[in-house]
Amino acid sequence: MANDFKVPNLGENVEEGDIVKVMVSEGDEIAADQNVMEIETGKAVVELPCPFGGKVVKVHVQEGSKVKVGDPLLTVEGADGKATKEASKKEAAAPKAEAADAQADQTEEATEEEVEEIAAKVEEPKPAKAPVKKPAAKAAPKETAPTVAPTAAPGKTPPAGPATRRLARELGVDLALVAGSGPNGRITEDDVKAAVRENVSAPRAAHVAPGAPLPAGTDERDAWGVVRRSKVTAMRKAIAVNMAGSHSTIPHVTNFDDADITELERIRKGGLSDYVGTDIKLTMMPFVMKAVAQALRLHPMVNASIDMQKEEILYKQYVNIGVAVDTERGLVVPVIRDVDRKSIPAIAKALTETTDKARSAKFKLEDLKGGTFTISNLGAVGGTYSTPIINPPEVAVLLLGRSRKLPIVGEGDKIDIRLMMPLSLSYDHRLVDGATAARFLNEVISYLKVPGRLLLAP
């Protein structure tokens, strides 16, 4: 069978690299643990050994390719027994729950046949191996007694210069676990790179990351390992029912766009110090809410509801905006009323009070009702675009991503650095046509780009 050799975990905080050298070609026979590529990460060039042998049927990269952890490098056919671990663990795990992943890591030592068997029985994990093996010292210095390990004793810093120590930090290598090849165990930059290669080719069994704490429940074992069985909370149930209902009845369409908020950010920052010492946080959100509220007044279809049974459209003549708040218990969407008639400072104040209330669970059911539109802000967590789900009976929802500086081609083909906010607008295509949605989103973007318009809005 054919197996893919993928870019392995290269060290802490190292997610990508450049292929500087490909040492095999299609048709080559390679042995297990043979070095097949050189990859450059940051300032280090590391040789990558392929953990399994066989015939190279495909080389997926060439010199100069940029690769990320997990990208395929080679496809090797007729791999030996050891080889099957990479591919077969995925096959064994895939049909069942995701929870099997952690267990699959522990079965890497198993052969193909064994892997197939563990679907039916519970396998004890193999003993963990140290993440970095200590190779034997190349030449023990004559002063050193043979029983003395070449590395420094625990608690002492191993001998390595500042440049080597920095490389070790960059590659996430613990120098205490590296065997130095120099006199008296002195560690060189090559030793650090060698330690990374060892780490890459060593089984990953010891690398089960400490997980986040789980909610209360009962632990039990299934075929792949331990599973915590926990009750669905009332709130999670409500979210699940609403989300499923909305997604299955409403034909969702999502438009993606970006708003230039360079000028707006300047105004917001300028005003920041006026709010020092108050409870109000002057975030971007009140400005976006004001822009959305004004745009909703101009595009009433997006501020409406549809009643399919009575075959009626309900145009709301008020603008109540729900703001998605991430709380410890899950997502809640408290509603801020009459946003179109509030000033930006008043919106900021209402928003602070409402989110505080939501987070402290002091809100009433009334606070969650009567919305005509929802805004969800993913920016604080990160991410750009997403496809948000509409909160019925509303017909649209706007998701804000994390703003970032982008090169924008401006007038006269000049490239300018602008702060851009990613926007994702989902709308109910039964009521809102694509053009309507696009016009509405353009309106929002134009308010955000020229905040003077926003400030002068009634």
């Binding site: 210069g161 120590r165 920095r166 930090r169 006199p183 008296n184 920052k269 110090s273």
Partner: protein
């Protein structure tokens, strides 16, 4: 106003950080309360004191020449000219910094600043737009001389190190309170210029943190240079008398009073962390007033890093400038950490004392096993040629690995000689590495190689049987 990075404090840590950040493409504002850049080091510390110590050394050498058959007259000293020359050294360096800031497009604001919150500074002495909003701040506010309340008199006859460096006059007599490095350096300057200098120290030792054997050659020389050295002695009170300060001492023999033209209070320095509005941020301050930082110099406030004297001991310019660069690199996501194996310490007296890495004092209190190699300068041709054989170079060596753990030197130019030791310690060098590095002859730097050779029993000028070691 707004800025990407504000560096608060224009000393050696602050300007190193600001310049590096600008070089790496950040938009930087440097805020300094004093009207010039340079901080304590340049304006009222390392640099002016070294300029004056150079003068003191020349005066001292002319007197030593009598032994060689060269008689010099006592120098005629024009204090105004001397002060002006010292001031020119400062203004040249400070002007150079201002020029470098300009070329790097670092915006320099001379204003007192305090934090309104984690991302806003209020600037005093700026006419309008006095709020500076920043994305990140590197706090480099330094330290100030400690002045105990009992010694605060409303007269310039009682000085701190800043006052002493102003060199208002050459007083007839000077009492230095505190036998630390600042007091001994400035005491040396005034003594060589002709002042009768006395030193009073509360503990039994001058330079209390240094190894005793290092201090001995200095103490022998200071006993000749200074009018009095009072150990185990407490200063009970200072009162302003007739054109003098009356000082009451107390030691095991009881109390007595003596008059001095001037008094220098040099009892240490304290971090400058108060009055900056840090209480309006998340920054944590320890019981001694230092800002708490991690290895990347980040404080408990995600928007603020801290470097230099305000971020902890040792309060040394070269530590600050290194931290400044680490702080900037850390902000930019580089794998930098402030984790040195050795920070050299130098006392610029005559002779100089310098050490790096492990000291014998620390090794003993921490129970760290070491072997000692000591090379007396009496065996060095260069030291003999200079007529300065009182010095020595010693080395602390880890017995199993023969790695260099620490080096200490007392003697002329010890401060320059210690650099080789710092590199050796950083690189994890062994005694043999140093012994087999060829040092130029005849120099004082040879003594570093010779100390390592004396450990291996291979020093030419020293007869010492090889130490018995496990094969």
């Amino acid at each position: 106003m707004e800025t990407q990075l504000v560096v608060l404090g224009g000393g050696p840590g602050g300007y190193a950080a600001a310049f590096m950040a600008a070089d790496m493409g950040m938009e930087v504002t440097l805020v300094e309360a004093a009207p010039r850049l340079g901080g304590t080091c340049l304006l009222k510390g390392c640099i002016p004191s070294k300029a004056l110590l150079h003068v003191a050394r020349v005066v001292g050498e002319t007197q030593e020449m009598a032994d060689w058959g060269l008689e010099f007259e006592k120098p005629r000293i024009d204090v105004d000219k001397l002060r002006a020359r010292k001031e020119k050294v400062i203004s040249d360096l400070s002007g150079g910094l201002a020029g470098l800031a300009k070329r790097r497009k670092v915006q320099v604001i001379h204003a007192r600043a305090s934090f309104l919150n984690s991302q806003t500074l209020k600037l005093e002495g700026v006419e309008k737009d006095d709020k500076l909003v920043f994305e990140h701040c590197i706090l480099a506010s330094g330290s100030i001389p400690a002045m105990p309340g009992a010694f605060k008199l409303n007269t310039d006859r009682v000085m701190d190190s800043t006052g002493a460096l102003e060199l208002k006059d050459i007083p007839e007599s000077l009492l230095v309170i505190g036998g630390g490095y600042i007091g001994l350096e400035l005491g040396t300057v005034y003594a060589e210029l002709g002042t009768k200098v006395s030193v009073v120290e509360l503990t039994p030792n001058l330079l209390p943190t240094a190894d005793r054997d290092l201090v001995k050659p200095l103490e022998n020389r200071l006993k000749k240079l200074f009018a009095g050295i009072y150990m185990n002695t407490k200063v009970v009170s200072l009162t302003e008398g007739n054109n003098a300060i009356d000082v009451t001492f107390e030691d095991e023999n009881g109390k007595r009073t003596e008059s001095f033209s001037r008094v220098l209070v040099s009892v240490g320095r304290r971090p400058n962390s108060a009055g900056l509005g840090l209480e309006n941020t998340e920054v944590e301050i320890d019981e001694r007033g230092f800002v708490v930082v991690d290895e990347q110099l980040r404080t408990a406030d995600q928007f603020i890093s801290a470097i230099g004297d305000v971020a902890g001991e040792p309060m040394l310019a070269h530590k600050a400038s290194h931290q400044g660069k680490v702080a900037v690199e850390a902000l930019l996501g580089e794998p930098a950490e402030f984790a040195p194996m050795a920070i050299p310490a130098v006392v610029f007296t005559d002779p100089e004392i310098a050490w790096a890495g492990l000291t014998e004092n620390d090794a003993k209190t921490q129970g760290i096993e070491y072997e000692l190699a000591k090379y007396p300068w009496a065996a060095s041709g260069k030291a003999l040629a200079l007529g300065r054989t009182e010095g020595f170079t010693k080395m602390l060596i880890e017995p199993d690995s023969e790695r260099i753990l620490g080096v200490a030197i007392v003697g002329v130019n010890a401060g320059d000689l210690i650099s080789e030791a710092v590199l050796a310690i950083e690189m994890g060098a062994t005694a043999r590495d140093l012994a087999e590095t060829i040092h130029p002859h005849p120099t004082l730097s040879e003594t570093v190689g010779f100390a390592a050779e004396s450990y291996l029993g291979t020093a030419t000028e020293i007869y010492k049987p090889r130490p018995a070691r496990k094969a």
